[in-house]
Symmetry: C2
Subunit: 94 residues, 2 copies
DNA sequence: CTGTTATTTAGAAATTTATCTAAATACTCT
DNA sequence: AGAGTATTTAGATAAATTTCTAAATAACAG
């Protein structure tokens, strides 16, 4: 279930920071890695988890790979949280 | 930062199921444990993580401990996701 | 106080996760 | 084709997580 993957992906602070970095637009793997005190391999690992969770999409341009947010999955998570909060099945406020 | 704890707490399927069980009202540790094929000790461990994340509150009644949802923390998470989705640079700091 | 029930804590084992280094792949440019 | 850069993959390791059993606490009833 991709849903569980999404929560798992969000559970790591590095991955959350990556997502926040992508709010304003796509960045290449290298640009992302440059912001962290970790090897590129480690960032690649985190990106693979975000990708598997469908929280990011990749686009290849020249010999760069750009990563961008996929907000539709974020919406799904918000829906789940909404349900949790709702308790009574009446409401569905956004 | 309790915020990180919250995401971590949400990353486990058992804990998410516990939260869903609490939507319609509080349940005792034993009532919760009865729904899972795990020992009470394990459920107690999960409850302690949810409690540390402030996703649940406990109330002692007789020799039972009741657990109930704390929805305000859920709102905080939704706010974070909102920010992510929004991409608005006007309010990036929390 | 004694005994019973509900729950948590402690300690240990199995699994998963995050990280590194080194090597491999992929793509570009001349 | 060959060199150079960007990124990923493989393999290893340390740390964190989940789970269990057994023991400890806490609260109640008689």
């Amino acid at each position: 279930m991709a849903f569980a993957d999404t929560f798992k992906a969000l559970s790591d602070p590095v991955r959350r920071e990556i997502l926040m970095m992508l709010r304003h637009g796509s960045l290449s793997a290298g640009e992302i890695a440059a912001q962290f005190d970790m090897t590129g391999a480690t960032i690649s690992y985190h990106l693979s988890i975000l990708k598997k969770a469908e929280l990011v999409r990749e686009t290849r341009v020249k010999n760069y790979i750009y990563y961008g947010l996929n907000t539709s999955v974020v919406e799904e998570i918000m829906l789940w949280l909404s349900e949790l909060k709702g308790g009574n099945e009446d409401d569905k406020e956004v």
